[in-house]
Amino acid sequence: MSRADVTAGAGAPAAPEETGQEPGQGSGPRPVRLAWTLGLFRSELSVTFRRWRTLALLAVLAAVPVLVGIAVKIETSDGGSIGGGGPEGGGGPAFIAQVTNNGLFLVFTALAATLPFFLPMAIGVVAGDAIAGEASAGTLRYLLVAPAGRTRLLLAKYVTTLTFCLVATLVVAASALAVGALLFPLGEVTTISGTRIGFGEGLLRALLIALVVAASLIGVAALGLFVSTLTSSGIAAMATTVGLLITVQIVDQIPQLHAVHPYLFSHYWLSFADLMRDPVYWDDLVKNLGLQALYAGVFGSAAWARFGAKDIAT
């Protein structure tokens, strides 16, 4: 977003509060500005996380690993293995076959199960609500009365959404780890390459995977924020974001459209599993992070372009 700020200075010199973070151009001294930004961010954060809607979303996310864990436990209670046998390796999300041996794998299974839909949907709700929700509630103009500037408000909203991405992912991972530890044995981890790593390193990789999954949602968050600046209806923004999410996932499944697949934000999502290889296979992980950064750059600046020039009537 700093790029956006710099370009704002060049492209719209008549908007002094946008370039306020650059020394010498702001109307107040820098520390005050910074405090404002932090304060704005903190108030956004508390507003977001105190909403019942947000808490309900997090509760749903935390329930997914519980369901998966109990289902696996029941299915394997007679000593059988889950999804074993067929050459396809059974259905279900990735890593599910290993859950019975090691509860830590429930973290990976839960993330693989929630990443395609539950997590991005929750992000879509929060991101779509960010600007449009304020507009439809009529509170956007009051937010703008505070001398924070639109760019900084947008930035605070985006950082709040990203924080939600991280929190949501960690909620899934923590819930899965707790359920996995309760229902299944823990211990030495066998990577999918067949080598063994200690439980400590396994935990570290689980944390790394959670961070990568959270980073995989950066693109959706930026897209949702952009959609949110287009409309004054919170519901419409959320529905559009979730609709786009589903459309992109469907397009990603159509083999005839393989030419566009590498540019879809969801294409490399499952690459987080590459962290469980030994040695780690970085190629797709790097592609995923690069793609997310690209989406953040394009749609973040598009949101800035739209929001900065928009007439706020409500």
């Binding site: 050459p87 041996n101 044995p185 999918i192």
Partner: protein
């Protein structure tokens, strides 16, 4: 200033310039997208620019260099794309043909096709490599320790050879396959032991080195034009390009290009182009390679608790019962495999056990079991041909063609349809 109005100072600027400024803001996202697109387009082009300058070698020296190459320690990533032009209807058919494709000649080792049993069974899994694009990881440390992994989505299939043990581990189904006596496989030769994972690892070429060895073996020196065609960069290393071309007509192989590492003599990339033109049939090359010693833990596999392990003996017991198309081809080899000609245009002549009809890969051995609909379907896949030998059906892929005569003979080879008919006529 009223903060809930647009940030442009509309009091002083006129409406037109305000509109222009509004539009100017959208230049930023467009510029970001443009820069990204340019980077994506330009970086690969810049990365591959320029072939390395290497001292000249003759083709003979280069082949000797490959033979003398004693690379024992290596790890790397291999990308393999196979496009036989087959419709993807199960592993039975592709399984039957693919190893022959790798050998660049007769389907001598055609046959460990799809069979029932463990998901971790090496033969079935490695046959998947016969179509599409796959990423593989290889690691080797001397003759006793090798590992080959097929990278799937969120799963991996590993074939690990460590001393006397051969393990295959399929992480998607959490199943393992174990065989103990890999070293004896060659002595026992024929039947079950040939299916030991080690042999399979060798017989089904998957690394550029194995492809290159197969190709050089298959290439009859006198019938092949071999030359060194400049240099290339493969996986960040300087390499010579060795080009093999069949001299005689009738082969479907256009040319084979092998990139040979200039320092170690290790083949780094193998490309087989069909005579008919178009994209390569087989393209296997390292994208990353390291000639250092891989970590010992790489080859250390113990099946995790709860993993279903299939021992080699168990698996063979099952194969006896429900072995499928591939096994039948195997039976045929024992019965009556006859190689006509040699070098590039060699054709394998097989007799189907039942004495007639089409070997419907994937179903039972007797063609009498094939329902008429299936027969019709199979016929529709091939071209009907007639000759002195009678009549038959030619099944075509981009590399391997097969002629199945109505009196139950099969001619398979990397040769054109005409060459197959000629061979059948001559054999008649």
């Amino acid at each position: 200033m009223a903060p809930y109005e647009p940030e442009q100072d509309t009091n002083e600027a006129d409406e037109l310039s305000a509109g222009r400024r509004k539009a100017a803001r959208y230049v930023v996202p467009l510029a970001v997208a443009g820069v990204a697109a340019a980077t994506i387009g330009l970086v690969p082009a810049l990365a591959t620019s320029g072939d390395p300058d290497l001292p000249d070698v003759t083709a003979q020296e280069l082949i000797e260099k490959i033979a003398a190459s004693d690379t024992e320690q290596l790890s790397g990533t291999v990308k393999i794309s196979t496009d036989l032009g087959l419709p993807s209807f199960g592993s039975g058919m592709t399984g039957g043909f693919a190893p022959g494709a790798g050998a660049g000649g007769a389907g001598e080792d055609g046959g460990e096709g799809g069979k029932g049993g463990s998901a971790a069974d090496p033969s079935a899994k490695l046959m998947e490599l016969a179509s599409g694009t796959h990423t593989l990881r290889v690691a080797a440390d001397g003759p006793d320790k090798q590992k080959l992994s097929v990278l799937d989505d969120a799963a991996e299939y590993s074939l690990i050879h460590n001393g006397d043990d051969v393990w295959a581990y399929d992480s998607a189904s959490n199943e393992a396959y174990h065989s103990k006596d890999a070293g004896k496989g060659d002595k026992h030769g024929k039947q079950h032991d040939r299916e030991g994972a080690k042999d399979l690892g060798k017989e089904v070429p998957s690394t550029p080195k194995e492809f290159a060895e197969q190709a050089l073996k298959a290439a009859d020196k006198s019938a092949t034009s071999v030359k060194v065609d400049g240099s290339a960069q493969v996986a960040g290393r300087d390499a010579y390009r060795l080009v093999l071309k069949p001299k005689e007509s009738g082969s479907t192989v256009g040319q084979i290009t092998i990139a040979v590492d200039a320092k170690t003599g290790t083949p780094l990339k193998f490309t087989l182009s069909p005579a008919g033109g178009g994209s390569a049939v087989v393209d296997a090359g390292f994208t990353k390679v390291d000639f250092g010693k891989p970590a010992a833990s790489t080859f250390d596999f113990r099946p995790p608790k709860g993993t279903k392990v299939t021992e080699e003996g168990d698996a063979n017991g099952r194969h006896g019962k429900d072995g499928m198309g591939g096994r039948d081809l195997k039976g045929m080899e024992d019965g009556g495999l006859n190689v006509i000609g040699d070098g590039w245009t060699s054709i394998a002549e097989l007799k189907t056990p039942g004495g007639q009809g089409l070997p419907t890969s994937g179903s039972g051995s007797d063609s009498g079991d094939v329902p008429p609909e299936a027969e019709k379907f199979l016929n529709s896949l091939g071209d009907q041909v007639k000759g002195d030998f009678g009549s038959g059906t030619v099944f075509k892929t981009r590399l391997i063609n097969a002629l199945v005569t109505d009196d139950g003979k099969v001619y398979v080879g990397a040769v054109t349809k005409d060459a197959l008919v000629k061979a059948a006529n001559a054999a008649h």
